[in-house]
Symmetry: D2
Subunit: 305 residues, 4 copies
């Protein structure tokens, strides 16, 4: 299978229309894409201090990948066939003024930063990741950052928004199809920030960061317009909303899920509102990025009548 | 078993220290408590308009129940042994300027209210609740409102906060123990707002509202002080944070869960922060009340080392 | 003139219907009301540590004052005729986990508290308050906490909401009339928390706290219902919204100001929306209390046509 | 004086590094810059419907202007010498799902949009703008959008952030100097969105929109790094914070103003925190854009000791 690597390590730190495509894929094609971790694979030792090691930009992306025939107003469907680790450890850390329980440049305060610390996890024969003799986290890999180019903006790879980006959604995983709104010719797909696993909220801001090989199939839904990223699998429909304050992310996710039920499942809007009240699911994917991401979902067996 | 009913239907609409106890229980005692639904059982027909039927106050509570020996600084542990429906239908509706996807008195706007509509669900032999020939919701009952008196405040039964109250948390359910901070002598426990089921977020603001009989066991943990409601069962620890904006509810829940791991499981705070980053769970219970409620949790098998 | 003092120093720490009135006034009557400062006059020395000195409750209120003839659905109009200091200094301080640029129990984080410090200001012959040889703050006194009882709730004197309370609005000052929604018989008026002055936002959470004598005239507007506190003087109309997140406080304030222009000045709602877009004023009164308070205003000379 | 116009009307809709400069200025140079209004001068009649007239992008900017010698880490100081209108009317309107008291794509709801309406104001001999025989708004012009390029991002001209942009701050006006953080060589300055006047908050989202000629002087402070836009004049220091929720914009503005007092006025951080508590000013510039903008200020006469 064709393997796509970033040429000369010139990774992208924005999602935008100004990058030269590194590869072109046909609708229906499956390829393997290589990604480095969110720290460009620089953080490898518990004795390091992230603030001394890391450069001005984080979260390098592989891409953009040009999808033949994609036009604004289409939907790009990317199915995640497989994710494999390409090294035997995973890294997490605290970064000064970044995370869910610290002051940040936006939630600006007068506190000193929290202590910097690095946690190295080692891959076990069963695929889990062990931190010392303390705890093990099962292998449940996904891509934290995943999306397409906005129309005219170039958005930092740290920020999630309606184009996708740094959503940190555990359901962007093997077996699921992620639907993305095409806004420029060729869609210009970017991917990176693979995680061996992550809790809901990504509390300290840094998951189990790994370099990875992802096997991705690209399909195109011509003439189908969506406004926010969606995820579909055999059991569920999901929508990802990204915004601040967090309630706006929740509103976006559920509002767009209602639109999905209305357009594709014949619901009246108030009936969709009612059904999601009783059977909807809503979890926090990240509470740490420049926008928070929440995922609203519904099991498909509620929709068949 | 002793059955506790509100005398003469004089339900409480605040959680506070000024109500006369309706019963006293001993630590270790199990009782049955009867609750009416959030609309005082007045909404029974799809032809009704909620704004014409309902009085100035919603969400009548049964209580307060005085727990012998409870003192400020203790923790009250209420285990939910059983919840049974006492009628064969459940009701939901839209209420003007109340809900997750509408302007409200707080998120004040110039829009007209959304359409008022009532949905009546009928209990099926398998326990599920069916809306017409459209959809069925499984029986997964819980108490939407559950808590104790604040020290000096009296808080509307529509509002969740650190005393508990209208949290709308599906995990306040059979088999779980809810831990509440005792702030007045006798704790003064209130309960109501039973739901046959509810989605995460309680999107339109009204779940599958039912009248119910709850079987509750009351225990006391003397000298144990907690700041926010907690839930424990064999598999998990959970904390409920209630605040606005929603990110503050998330911060509270995870911050207090870290405190739990530090106090009772010997964690260093940063290690707890790290573990919850990789293995924590965080869902939205309600996105409609005067405070939003989020639930942060961790499976216990991550804690045993 | 009649002087009203809290009997035996039994100050109130909630706004609610359960306190016994300390005095009754007639509509049209003017009285003098004595208030202690937000720390109960306990903080007097820069060597003190607030966390060691202060008790469990802050912000003691004088009241409730029963207004003869006030009924739910009326509006209470309290005109501030004068505010005089009753001692020659003012105090401010930092309090652990309280303030605008610190983690709080709600914006919960893992930081240590900021340093505790006390600033004592001395009254100068020109009425200004001087801090050492560093800076002087002019005398521009107002009551930080001012309001009436809610209908059934009892709300902490630290919290501002639709009943008034701890709004920390500099325009609650001499020459202005504050309009409050009557929700219980007699209105039950409370006042306290006088400030010699305060910046917009009350950044560290503690203004120039003083004990004071206020001269207040009480009037009643029978049958006039308002939903949030309003302020009127010869030049301006103002509305105070209190909520979180802060944008909800802004929405409430402007939404209610539009209602005022529609009801009393004959505006079409969209025209009021337009005029306030071009000529409205909107400042932050507090960014530190359990709800934030914002003040929306319009000069009256825009309304006369 | 040199006059700068956008060549061939090819206005910019992003603040970013990918636009070709339209002019180069020397530090110390004063030039005249022509701007069209936020609707590209297309909205001219009260019978128009904005949703039918306007294209996919709003808020066209003049620029970028390259400032000779500007390097990342410098501060660009732009003094507004004059603003003149270039036509005799101003326009405002409601735009579907845009504004302070409406659902938006972010605060997503199920409501229908508010009514679209256009208000045309006519310039009077005294410079004020009159709407029919209803009201007149005085001439107090400023640039709603004003800023420099981010380092790698390209940000919509509708969004304010740390680079400046669509802040809608009335103090970006004649006689004031706006300080901006240089992040790319030449700074790449953009300007547009002139307003004849605007209320605080820009409530409906559309001020008194005009085409204008601005007289601007460009200066460079080499080696001075700032993180957010600042404004200075003879009487005041001000900082603009832009974020959501609104409290984060307030925190940023006051946090950065403390930094200013510490760096340039010799304050201890806690003393600056204290002084701003008593004498700071904090108003809402916009409550309608993708980020809200708040302005924190202090009069200089408090700083001289």
């Amino acid at each position: 299978m064709r393997e796509i690597r970033q040429p000369e390590g010139a990774y992208c730190y924005t999602f935008g229309p100004h990058h030269e495509p590194i590869a072109t894929v046909e609708p229906g094609e499956t390829v393997i894409v290589h990604t480095v971790d969110a720290f460009g694979d620089l953080l490898v030792d518990e004795g390091q201090r992230p603030s001394e090691i890391l450069g001005p930009y984080l979260n390098p992306q592989t891409g953009p990948i040009y999808v033949e025939g994609a036009e604004p107003g289409d939907t790009l469907a990317v199915t995640i066939v497989d994710i494999e680790p390409v090294r035997d450890n995973a890294v997490s850390c605290t970064v000064p003024f970044f995370g869910g329980l610290t002051a940040t440049p936006y939630t600006a305060m007068l506190h000193e930063p929290l202590e910097e610390r690095v946690w190295i996890y080692h891959r076990q024969p069963d695929g889990s990741y062990r931190y010392r003799d303390r705890w093990s986290i099962p292998w449940r890999p996904f891509f934290g950052t995943f999306g397409v180019s906005p129309h005219i903006e170039s958005i930092s790879s740290l920020t999630p928004a309606s184009h996708g980006g740094n959503m940190d959604v555990p359901d962007v995983t093997v077996g699921n199809t992620v639907l993305l709104p095409v806004r420029v010719p060729g869609a210009l797909f970017f991917v990176g920030d693979a995680h061996a696993n992550q809790g809901e909220g990504e509390l300290c801001g840094v998951a189990l960061e790994i370099a990875a090989r992802g096997t991705l199939r690209f399909d195109l839904i011509k003439g189908k317009r969506i406004d926010w990223p969606r995820i579909e699998n055999a059991e569920k429909l999901m929508v990802i909303g990204s915004a601040k304050p967090m309630e706006d992310a929740a509103r976006i996710a559920y509002r767009e899920l209602i639109a999905w039920l209305v357009e594709d499942y014949g619901f009246d809007p108030l009936d969709a509102y009612q059904l999601l009240t009783q059977a909807g699911e809503l979890y926090v994917a990240n509470m740490v990025d420049p926008n928070y991401s929440l995922v609203a979902g519904i099991r498909k067996d509620f929709l068949n009548w």
